[in-house]
Every structure is written in structure tokens, then in C-alpha cells.
């Protein structure tokens, strides 16, 4: 699930981890009550500083996505449909922003991108 955590990106690692969990929860990939790997386990798996994982979990807990039960671990909380939709909207916006930045760098306008988008989506519908 965390394969694309990349320290080379400008986003701090803890933020990348937290974002991934948020998306997973929003998309239903992670269900309420499911347990996340322990700080130690995840740090080991991703080969990152355990403090980084701890920070990600803290952030998620503060936002209400997870809760940490002392001794038993970190669990996904029940997140309302509204909240999930909101999260998805945020993620979509993030993706579009990245796309636009990339395009700007290559000299491709927003209109061209929009057209390409519709072609792609439209093309898929026709398949």
C-alpha cells in the first residue's frame, strides 16, 4: 500500500504516509475498525524513521481518521460519508494541481490538458 512513499518528493515523509492512509480510508480501502501496522512494523517495512511514522499517526488521529488504543495499536475510525467525499475531493484537487504544474513546465496549457482529459475519459467510455 505504501509503495510510492518517496523521500525525494518535497512533501515530508510523514505527510506522504498520512495522505496515503487518508486516501485509503476515503476510498474504502481501509475499513473502520481495521488495524494499521504498528509504528515499529511500518517503520521497518518502509525503512523510515519510527518518529516519522509516529508523527503520521498522530496527525491522522488529530484529524479523526484513526485512533490509538494504548497497548493494542492504531485503528481506523468510522469516517462519515461526507468526510470521505471531502477527502476524495481534496485528493483529486491535488492530482489536478500536480498535472497542471507538470503541464506548465512542458508548456502545455490548461485547455490542452482539459481536451486530452476528455479524450481519455471519452475513449474509455467507448471501449
Amino acid at each position: 500500500m505504501f509503495e510510492d512513499i518517496d523521500p525525494r518528493r518535497p512533501t515530508p515523509l510523514w505527510e506522504q504516509i498520512a495522505a496515503r492512509v487518508r486516501v485509503a480510508v476515503a476510498a474504502g480501502e481501509l475499513r473502520p475498525g481495521e488495524s494499521l501496522p504498528s509504528v515499529r512494523e511500518l517503520a521497518r517495512r518502509l525503512r523510515v524513521n519510527p518518529a516519522t511514522v509516529a508523527q503520521a499517526y498522530r496527525e491522522l488521529a488529530q484529524e479523526g481518521f484513526v485512533e490509538t488504543r494504548h497497548g493494542s495499536g492504531t485503528f481506523v475510525r468510522e469516517v462519515g460519508t461526507d468526510r470521505r467525499a471531502e477527502e476524495r475531493k481534496l485528493q483529486a484537487g491535488e492530482l489536478v494541481r500536480r498535472l497542471l504544474e507538470e503541464g506548465a513546465r512542458l508548456g502545455i496549457t490548461a485547455t490542452e490538458l482539459s481536451n486530452a482529459f476528455h479524450d481519455e475519459v471519452g475513449g474509455k467510455d467507448n471501449d
Binding site: R8, A43, N49
Partner: protein
């Protein structure tokens, strides 16, 4: 005790060609501190001075609250050390080497040492001299960890090891740190590895510390700014620190400026001079490290006063600095 390691004003001059002058370095307790620097920058020398193996000309060194060399044995008892070259006796077997090591450290955990030995798949009756490089690398980290130290000082512990062994070694270190909150001071060339798990970074070049700050801060510290119609003369009042500028090779016209301390909104500096900022490129740890080094070596590619226009020195001339990625690459 707030700092695992404190170095203040360290001075050392082993020869005419190399010196450590007024080095200040701090490793906060519980942090994983990555010590970066090209070959010959003095990383191993600094570590040797830390461990009391060499005598500095001046300055203070404090490890875990104890002064070096006054409290040396006390500090060493709580420090796990992996030197650049293996220090175990080649004539002993793995089991004998472990027993010898364990006899000297009060907090040695023999039971856990054996578990690690099995995890690393080391044969206890195998002679140390007959171990492969990877196995030796695993053995020395095992010895350092089984001491249950409060601080780990690791001098390129994964150097020359294959990726599988590297992962095993790093996993063992991370596991230990998760469990105990020990501090780690690790020097390495493998920048990408350090980037993942260090929360502090110190960059050494030619005996001087060029930068020391939290890892996340450093990753945002240095950026490449692509500028078109840039003024030839920058003037003295720059809102950021200019490390160097050179013509942008590859796509796009204009120049690439390497800046330190860039903040959003600084593009106005350019626009009011008739120039424009095409793009601000984030640099990862390795690229930031390379740019910082380049800037600190006058004469190679512009330097701090930057007249890189047209003077494009071949990067191959400096053996320490690898070829840069062409300007404009990287994620922004």
C-alpha cells in the same frame, strides 16, 4: 541530557593538506543523524576523534554527557561503534567473537545476540576471517546492537554491502531504535538510504560543516530556480543566498540559479528587474548535497559569486562530485 553528542570548536591538523577547524556539531538525543560528506572530507576522522582514538588539538567533545577523553570508558560502555574497517579478530569464530565482546559490556544481551545471529544467518562456528563481506558487516552491527547502547556511532556500516544485506542491517538498526529510542550517528555515502530514515543531517566538506539541520528542513533548503532574462549583475541585496548560477542546458532558455533559503514570493525580486521565474525545482537530498558542495568549492562551476555564464567547467574534473542532472529535471 538533551544531546547525545556535542562537539564544540574541534580542531585537528594531522597533516599540512587537511585540517578540521572549529567544528561544531550536535546530535540531539533520540535522533537519527546522517553524517554526509564526500571522500576525504573528514567523516572518519571526526568519528575517530569522537571515539577518543585520536587526540584533537583543541575543542570539547561530549558523548552521552561524558567528556572525551576524561570519561571515555564510561561513555564507551554505552556506545555501540561500527568502524570503517572491521575490528573483530579474524582468528576467532563468530561465537567466540561474540563472547569476547559481551564480556566487556555490562548491558550485553546474550540471548538477543543469539537471536540476531540466527536472523542474520551467521554460523557460530565459522571463523571470522572466512566470513563474506556481507556477513562481516552483519556481525559487527550485531555486536554493536547486542551491547544495548544508548548511542550508535556507525561509520559507513553498509558500504560495499549488497542491497539485501543493507536492508537487513538497516532493519536491525531501525528495530532497535524503535524499541529503545537510542540515538544514531551514521555516516554514509548512500544518500538515498539516509534520506529515508534520518531526521537530522550534517554535511561535511574538507573538515567544515556546511549545513546541519533537520532533514525535512534541508530538503526544502536548496532549490533550483529557472530564470529567463536574468540580470547579469545581481547586486548585493538578495533575499536569498545565491550558491551559483549557470546557463540552463537542455530544454528552455535562460539560466539556472541555485539558491538557499528560497521562499514563495521571492519571484518578485526577479520580476522587478525585468526577469521572470519559469520554475522552482525542488532538490532531493543528493542533489541538494551536490549543489552545496559545488558552491563551497570556488572555481568549480561558478561558485558563490557566480559568473557561470559561458564558463562551463567539465564536472568530471572534480572526482568527488558526480555529474548533475540536467536543469529542469526533478519534481516540483
Amino acid at each position: 541530557m538533551t544531546n547525545a553528542i556535542e562537539i564544540r570548536g574541534l580542531r585537528w591538523q594531522p597533516s599540512n593538506s587537511f585540517a578540521i577547524r572549529e567544528l561544531d556539531l550536535t546530535v540531539p538525543a533520540g535522533s537519527i543523524y546522517g553524517f554526509l560528506g564526500p571522500n576525504g572530507s573528514g567523516k572518519t576522522s571526526t568519528i575517530r576523534l569522537l571515539m577518543g582514538m585520536a587526540k584533537p588539538a583543541g575543542g570539547e567533545i561530549t558523548i552521552l554527557g561524558g567528556r572525551i577523553p576524561a570519561d571515555l570508558p564510561g561513555a564507551l560502555a554505552r556506545t555501540g561503534y561500527v568502524p570503517e574497517r572491521p575490528h573483530v579478530y579474524f582468528g576467532l569464530t563468530v561465537a567466540e567473537a561474540m563472547r569476547l565482546h559481551g564480556a566487556f559490556y555490562p548491558r550485553w544481551d546474550g540471548h538477543w545476540a543469539e537471536k540476531m545471529r540466527d536472523f542474520f544467518r551467521l554460523d557460530p562456528d565459522q571463523r571470522v576471517g572466512k566470513l563474506s563481506k556481507g556477513q562481516l558487516g552483519k556481525l559487527v552491527i550485531l555486536l554493536a546492537l547486542a551491547q544495548r547502547p544508548e548511542l550508535l556511532i556507525l561509520d559507513e556500516p553498509t558500504d560495499g554491502l549488497d542491497p539485501v544485506v543493507r536492508r537487513d542491517v538497516l532493519t536491525a538498526i531501525l528495530d532497535y531504535v524503535s524499541e529503545t529510542g537510542a540515538s544514531v550517528f551514521i555516516s554514509s555515502h548512500l544518500v538515498h538510504e539516509l534520506e529515508r530514515f534520518c531526521d537530522w543531517v550534517g554535511i561535511l566538506d574538507d573538515g567544515r560543516l556546511l549545513a546541519e539541520m533537520p532533514m525535512e528542513a534541508f530538503k526544502n533548503e536548496i532549490k533550483r530556480v529557472r530564470v529567463v532574462d536574468a540580470p547579469a549583475d545581481t547586486g548585493p541585496d538578495l533575499p536569498f543566498q545565491l550558491l551559483g548560477r549557470h546557463p540552463s542546458d537542455g530544454l528552455g532558455a535562460g539560466e539556472v540559479w541555485i539558491v538557499r533559503g528560497w521562499e514563495d514570493g521571492m519571484s518578485t525580486f526577479f520580476t522587478q528587474g525585468g526577469a521572470a521565474v519559469r520554475d522552482v525545482v525542488h532538490l532531493d537530498l543528493e542533489e541538494g548535497f551536490v549543489e552545496l558542495l559545488r558552491a563551497s568549492r570556488p572555481g568549480v562551476w561558478g561558485g558563490i559569486n557566480g559568473t557561470g555564464l559561458g564558463l562551463h567547467k567539465g564536472v568530471g574534473e572534480d572526482p568527488h562530485v558526480p555529474d548533475p542532472a540536467p536543469a529542469g529535471e526533478g519534481e516540483g
